[in-house]
């Protein structure tokens, strides 16, 4: 319970800092939403009139306070550009982004775990060196480059997967997954390397432990030792990273959604930035921060599952 309160307090601080900074940043950007609304060839007076109309001429702090007050009663505001309710705009699109990130992390993990285990088994062995160079190549390419390369090979070259687009899940699972594979892979090909390296490092240390020697003394096979005895105690850092990576992934999806034409929160945000629709920007950023904190909360739960010492309170008895 105390732990929960502690988490909530941290959440509040994170959200406060993040939203305030975004608010300030959006306000120092040249140009504002009033230009956008007034149209291309409107006079300065017209723009000024719109500004006053929206209350944009009032002090930043005051407007920030107003916005926070709104959020507290569930009113995330409405877009200046198309009058869409911000909360609805986000929650409509978030499942798409969420699917993309989830898929990316699943692919990243399913690459990282076998590769990490294989490299840790014989550090500097042949498998380790091959995996190491693959990882190096994979991580040194930014995700948008990977995306373009993947499109080039699998969409334009072989024609196996679509280059862009999105299908709702109502069209069937495969129809929905098919266009998601390349975008998710583009994100995963960057993320897996860090996961793999972390797992590898921790597993090399775990494999030196006495209890691994005992497992070998019991006649257990290498495979069993790696997967049953060593993998779980080696995954703590990797799991932590999985939570922290959500921040990077959120950033990554913004670009990837743009490249692949996926209607997620990332696209909403980009569009809002172009049009200086700062109430939408504000909403998206707040939502991202919430998603990040939630992900790390889930990581803590995963810890308890992985480590019985956390689960049972670590007491003797």
């Amino acid at each position: 319970m105390r732990y929960l309160l502690y988490r909530l307090r941290r959440l509040a601080i994170v959200l406060g800092v993040v939203t305030f900074i975004t608010f300030l940043l959006v306000n120092v950007l040249p140009g504002d939403v009033a230009y956008e609304m007034a149209g291309m060839d409107s006079s300065e007076e017209e723009v000024q009139a719109i500004r006053e109309d929206l209350g944009l001429d009032r002090p930043v702090l005051l407007r920030y306070a107003e916005w926070v007050g709104g959020v507290f009663v569930g009113d995330w505001g409405t877009s200046y550009i198309n009058q869409e309710n911000v909360w609805e705009a986000i929650t409509d699109r978030f499942p798409v982004s969420f699917e993309l990130m989830l898929l990316a992390q699943i692919i990243a993990l399913s690459l990282a775990i076998p590769a990490g285990v294989a490299s840790a088994f014989r550090p500097n062995g042949r498998a380790d060196r091959i995996i190491g160079s693959l990882a190096f190549a994979s991580v040194s390419m930014p995700s948008f480059m990977t995306a373009i390369l993947l499109i080039f090979i699998f969409a334009l070259g072989f024609g196996w997967l679509p280059a862009t687009g999105y299908e709702p899940i109502s069209e069937g699972l495969w129809a929905n997954l098919r266009p998601m594979i390349l975008p998710a892979l583009s994100l995963a090909l960057v993320e897996w390397t860090v996961l793999m390296r972390t797992l590898r490092a921790e597993m090399i240390a775990v494999l030196q432990e006495n209890y691994i020697a005992l497992a070998r003394a019991k006649g257990m096979s290498n495979m069993r030792i790696l997967l049953v005895h060593a993998l779980r105690p080696s995954s703590f850092s990797m799991i932590t990273l999985l939570g922290l990576q959500v921040a990077r992934l959120l950033g990554g999806t913004i670009i990837i959604e743009q490249i692949f034409g996926i209607p997620g929160v990332g696209r909403l945000l980009i569009h809002a930035v172009y049009t200086r629709d700062f109430i939408v920007i504000q909403g998206c950023v707040t939502f991202f921060a919430l998603a990040f904190v939630t992900a790390n909360f889930l990581v803590d739960i995963a810890y308890a599952w992985l480590d019985p010492r956390v689960r049972t309170g670590g007491a003797h008895g």
């Binding site: 006495n210 209890y211 020697a213 003394a217 019991k218 006649g219 019985p308 007491a315 003797h316």
Partner: protein, 328 residues
Amino acid sequence: MGDIILDVRNQKTAFVTARGMAQAVDGVSFTLERGRTLGVVGESGSGKSVLSRSIMRLLPSNALVPADSRVILNGRDLTRMTETELRRLRGPEVAIIFQDPMTSLNPVLTIGRQITEVLTFHMGLKRRAARDRAIELLRAVGLPQPDVRVDQYPHQLSGGMRQRVAIAIAIACEPDLLIADEPTTALDVTVQAEILDLLQRMVRDRNMAMILITHDMGVVAGRCDDVAVMYAGRIVEKAPVRDLFHHTRMPYTAALLASIPKITDPPHRKLDAIEGRPPDIINPPPGCPFAPRCLRADAGCDAEKPVLAGTSRHQWACLNPLGEEAPA
């Protein structure tokens, strides 16, 4: 001569290190019969643990063992076996209890699972049967509430309880040879005695052979049949316990015996009573490795490395052994 379980011949184990080759075990030979306990004593770093891992063929990848080293267990040469063959034998024929009970159990697996996996792999027991047998084993090693403990994790147990679990794992498949590497150093005195009693009883009841590694000459006196004294990776004296205590030949053994804690000593006194330090095993001296610390050493000791000599009953490696007049 009884039924020989273990025959170690000229075991040498070296480690490749950044500073050079470390000869941790340097030509050890001995045999062990069923129903007997061999005590292995020696200072820290004398190669006791490396010897036990060499016997089990459980060495890290930087270890080097020459081709003429032999470990023959129940008539079969472990040095000629494949990894798969060795695996079938670890558990049912030879088992080990490690030095540190706090770190030798897997923190993320229940006690029960760590025992049952041995039973299902080696004895082909089904899940339920393995669990029942695990509880039985835990009861046999004197763990209170075995049916509750079986589902607990190592961190929920005290050091003494963990060591009992480690023993339960080691005896799960009724091995012919049990290696106990300082099974009680980390435990308090009363628990030490209990664990050692338990091991002694197991060896007697199941007619196993045991190698009991220890720092403690007192433990050897009470619980072993034979003793091998190790120094710098070699056996420097080996004899039945009585002979070793009453007709000590090797000055190093004498020094060890002199350092047995008396009742009047404070508890947990270590064998630090011997002057000087053990030799560097990477650059060993050309002569007797104990010579620099030995009161009886003369010029010959620094020049020539003594080999194990004597009778098959009592052997020692010394040029100026006790109980003989030193040549004038």
